[in-house]
């Protein structure tokens, strides 16, 4: 049987990493927490075999990533079917961002530090730009691997990543200008 205290210590050690992995892909706190919960439930089922494994962090990260991608594909695609008001667009993917602005987590309001600001800008990107960007930079996947994982064309992966970077740069520039205007320290050099 799993020792509850050991499992709690295990969760404390990895909760930030698991939550951050999900948060970066999903861009939504509530959904990221749901996914993190599911990840730890799976870890609980295998706790005896994984608890001392040297690659348990990698395993948790992979499960978080896969569950987040599943979440994006299944839940949002299903939700979109009944709620989307826009006309169909051939450029759309299952990761098209269709969450209403009010449903988003407004992380920029609480992001006072440099890293928090970047995380909030990342969360505000449309999912179709954020997901490949995160997979490329945080998970160090190649364009081909991303295309395979997201089941989209290589060209689209490159375009979305490029647009995501441009979008990020624009937000950072705007933020820097606003900070300068208010006499605040500029967090990121673009």
């Amino acid at each position: 049987m799993t020792d509850p205290e050991k499992f709690e210590a295990f969760m404390k050690a990895y909760q930030n990493m698991v939550f951050t992995t999900a948060m970066r892909l999903l861009g939504n706190t509530a959904e990221a927490e749901d996914v993190a919960q599911e990840v730890f439930l799976r870890a609980f089922d295998r706790f005896e075999s994984i608890k001392d494994h040297p690659k348990v962090g990698g395993w948790l990260r992979t499960v978080s990533r896969n569950l987040s991608l599943n979440h994006l594909t299944r839940h949002r695609a299903r939700w979109r079917l009944f709620t989307e008001m826009r006309s169909p667009d051939s450029d759309q993917t299952p990761f098209q961002d269709d969450i209403e602005a009010k449903e988003r987590t407004d992380t920029s309001a609480v992001a006072s530090d440099e890293g928090g600001l970047m995380e909030s800008f990342l969360a505000e990107l449309p999912a179709k730009q954020r997901v490949p960007l995160v997979l490329y930079h945080f998970d160090e996947m190649s364009y081909e691997e991303i295309a395979q994982t997201l089941k989209i064309s290589l060209g689209k992966v490159k375009t979305d990543i490029r647009r995501g970077r441009e979008n990020l740069r624009e937000r950072l520039t705007r933020s820097a200008a606003a900070r300068e205007e208010w006499g605040l320290p500029v967090p990121v050099s673009s």
Partner: protein, 164 residues
């Protein structure tokens, strides 16, 4: 060319913009998980533990239960593989329940009725041309699409009216 434009650098791997972003992203520390996460997981584990063992996942069963269930399932498979060759010919071709239990005589009329029904159904289905099957399948499929389409249409209509 903007510093984030990577089109001309694809052949040489990650470009300068890649590296800047990479360095920046790697320097980012993890976001703190909500304080509610661990209590939520613990509550979910407790709720799962309250369920009877057969409703829990196989991986959460203890070794004794796993061994017992596997043994019983294996035993039943062995028993079936031993019994079927004996009884199946007797049931299907041997004219009923000849080799089966003392109840066989009382079940004989039921068996005859069942065989009559199956025979009639078989004869009827063999008369139906294949196109009818395709037609029925097409009707079911179109009906399904219509139901989904109507649902989507009504949902969007409601959304549109709310938006106004």
């Amino acid at each position: 060319m903007s510093s984030f434009d990577m089109e001309e650098h694809e052949s040489s791997g990650r470009d300068a913009a890649d590296k800047v972003l990479d360095q920046y992203f790697r320097a980012l520390s993890d976001t703190e998980a909500p304080a509610s996460l661990i209590p939520r997981v613990q509550a979910a584990i407790a709720a799962r533990a309250l369920r009877p063992w057969w409703q829990q996942s196989y991986q959460s069963w203890n070794h004794k239960t796993r061994t017992l269930v596997l043994s019983v399932a294996g035993g039943m498979l062995l028993l079936l593989s031993w019994l079927l060759p004996i009884y199946l010919p007797a049931i299907s071709g041997g004219g009923g329940f000849g080799l089966m239990t003392p109840y066989s005589s009382s079940l004989e009329p039921l068996w005859a009725v069942a065989m009559l029904l199956v025979g009639s159904l078989q004869a009827f289905l063999s008369q139906v041309p294949a196109t009818v099957y395709y037609l029925v399948a097409a009707i079911i499929w179109v009906g399904y699409l219509l139901a989904v389409g109507t649902g989507v249409f009504l949902c969007r209509l409601v959304q549109l009216q709310k938006a106004r």
